[in-house]
Amino acid sequence: MTIAPIESSNPLRDPRDKRLPRISGPCGLVIFGVTGDLARKKLMPAVYDLANRGLLPPGFALTGFARRDWADQDFTQVVHDSVKEHARTPFREDVWDQLAAGCRFVPGDFADDEAFDNLVRTIQDLDRVRGTDGNHAFYLSIPPKFFGPVLGQLKRSGLSAGDSTSWRRVVVEKPFGHNLASARDLNRVLDEVFTPESVFRIDHYLGKETVQNLLALRFANTLFEPVWNRGYVDHVQITMAEDIGIGGRAGYYDGIGAARDVLQNHLLQLLALTAMEEPVSFQADALRTEKLKVLGAIKLPADLGSGSSFGVYDKGWQGGELVRGYAEEEGIPNSSRTETYAAVRLEVDTRRWAGVPFYLRTGKRLGRRVSEIAVVFQRAPHLPFTTTATEELGQNALVIRVQPDEGVTVRFGSKVPGTAMEVRDVNMDFAYGEAFTERSPEAYERLILDVLLGDPPLFPSSQEIDLSWQVVDPLTTYWAGRRPQKYPAGSWGPQSAYDMLAREGRMWRRP
């Protein structure tokens, strides 16, 4: 959903000319935390892929900031290696040369005024020799506890303020706080340093491509919308399952847990996109208006005990491998009550959805890695068949697979060939990867390009984050005094999650 083209004064731009990609104007990107996994595996390769697709401006500059005793060429080598190993598109010398000429490195600590003054000089120098014209984006690829210090430094050194002809933007990754209060604190700090439209919040689980696919499916077709309501839908299941454990991220994960890590952002965003009314346009603010209405209409179960479930993985066999339980992971204290699985039954109090439960679940060390939205329809009100004919007929379902193999599955009943009348569930499958083998750009490519172009992102606004915490805070507060139920690694979660649906005569899909 490209933003409607603003009447451009550039005579070479023509709305009918769909071949021409939008290339951002002269600018540079500064990455804090270049030594991290994210920067090496995702950000720097995405920058190269953009350059390779011809979407970066000539003279683009990439500056790294980290606590390393590196010179520019050391950093350039790091970028080179990460690009060679992780880029999506083939390595081309000429593209690399264009990129390498703009690589700079500034060593230093986030508390070090000197380092930031040095960064100011580096950027001024880039404006002069590379022609970045004062346009710079700052990517905070760092743990949230450093957001404050870095934002403070950007303000102190004047880096956060462009002049009338140039821009400065900042990118922050989820988590946006760990509860309502801390999220508001973070927003306040961001607001002090940057204007709201210069702040790009990223939920890397939810790429723009996914959001747009979902919007296209719902609103570009006539097939689905008529049944997308309480008249036909029995319930909705939204799942994000990971097969991995917490790995080396104990320090980050313990005390945060599944609800804050995934449910608060990813699952609630998917819920909002599934349940929202049609926006009047696909501009970011129109979309946001509709999402806000849904998030504001979410109702938590009256009894959080029976309407939610939380668990922690125990040791078990997963995919042919014996893996340890959460409590035995390195760096997890014995007293930990952090949940690695969270499920909740929500309702959306609108005319369209009244009485339709939305079951959300997420967890680590589950059966397999999958992220999907399943809209499960009501049974046909009358079946003109004998009961034996429809014994194996389940409920119709429309499943939107977010990952892996993004696509759509429709499940419906079909007659089994033969003389006996017998109806059984079958799946009809559509995969983006088969219909369009042109590989979708990585979420980070879209994202970095949006930041450089200044395209309003489809990512959550501070209001959406606020409303999401209002859903999650009561849950985590309720769980705080209780112990999560154990589930074996490689299973689909704790018994209490199954019970939660069974009480209402429903069951989780096996995704």
């Binding site: 550039n10 401006p57 000539p58 000429d94 264009q98 219909a435 369009f436 042109e438």
Partner: protein, 309 residues
């Protein structure tokens, strides 16, 4: 990847080819895939190269490829077919003998994927009026390559004369990176352009086409200069007080220079035919900017002729 399966049929009919295709599909357990049918009208000599290029483009756009080769027009009428299926990919080589070549549409029509777009590609020589040609009539998109013709500039002029919506030429897709870079260079504002200069190899149809597009959009006269190439070697846009120059001497790296700013390096490698074809298949609606530019090429060339005299 599944091993390729090849079925050869001689003295056959389109119906037999169609059923052989579905048999091959069901043997592999794969449903028919593809978002479009790509029909390639090609000579026997260029067939292998065209197929390779189409196969590469098909990686980005799953499609059924039909290679149509007309042979021995004076001989007896006969249809030979060779069907290749490999996983989700399939292509059929159709050899049309005798007067069947004049009725190629009767062979192709039953083999088109149902209810999906049809794209015609002439990698070499092409009919004068694409939209009215026997095969061109079946297609919503008709792709030619003036540069591959014996007389590239003449071919480009014929494209303009016989244009119908849906036509497009590789001479146009080859210059997309140039156009994108130049458009981006003007995004930040530039005074009205007073004169334009485009240099490139002589006889390269992309050179006057780029000149025509720039002249059309900017409303300024264009001068075409002949260089040793390869391809386009430079574009200069001049306003009253400043200029923007994009120069690419080696066919790979370009330098963008703008008065008052440092020179900037741009990767601007010449495009392969497969890249051009993939770009053509991405959008299947009529390309109006191409139509306007190709129509203006005559004006550009005339200006050039006057300058010489």
């Amino acid at each position: 990847m599944a091993a390729a399966m090849i079925t050869d049929l001689t003295r056959t009919t389109a119906a037999a080819v169609g059923s052989a295709l579905s048999r091959a599909r069901s043997r592999e357990g794969a449903a028919t895939v593809g978002v479009l049918t790509l029909v390639v009208s090609v000579s026997e000599r260029s067939a292998a190269a065209a197929l390779e290029c189409a196969g590469e483009a098909a990686r980005a756009h799953p499609c059924r490829i039909l290679l149509v080769i007309s042979r021995a027009p004076a001989g007896a009428t006969r249809l030979d077919a060779s069907i290749h299926t490999a996983g989700p990919r399939e292509h059929v080589t159709l050899r049309l003998y005798g007067s069947l070549g004049e009725h190629a549409d009767s062979v192709v029509l039953p083999l088109l994927l149902p209810d999906t777009p049809v794209v015609l590609w002439w990698p070499g020589e092409s009919p004068d009026n694409l939209g009215a040609s026997v095969l061109g009539r079946l297609a919503g998109r008709r792709i030619t390559d003036a540069a591959a013709s014996a007389d590239p500039l003449g071919a480009l002029a014929r494209r303009a004369a016989g244009y119908s919506p849906g036509d497009t030429d590789f001479a146009w897709s080859r210059i997309t990176p140039w156009r994108a870079t130049l458009a981006a260079a003007l995004d930040n504002g530039f005074d009205p352009v007073r004169s334009i200069e485009v240099s490139g190899a002589s006889g390269n149809p992309s050179v006057p086409l780029l000149g025509a597009w720039l002249s059309n959009r900017l409303g300024a006269p264009v001068v075409i200069r002949t260089s040793r190439g390869p391809g386009i070697t430079g574009v200069v846009l001049r306003s009253d007080h400043a200029e923007i120059a994009l120069t690419r001497p080696d066919g790979r790296r370009a330098s963008l220079e703008r008065s008052g700013s440092p020179a900037r390096l741009v990767a601007l490698a010449r495009r392969t035919d497969a890249q051009c074809l993939a770009e053509e298949l991405r959008r299947l609606d009529p390309d109006e900017p191409y139509a306007e530019s190709v129509a203006a090429v005559g004006k550009v060339s005339r200006a050039k002729a006057r300058k010489r005299s």
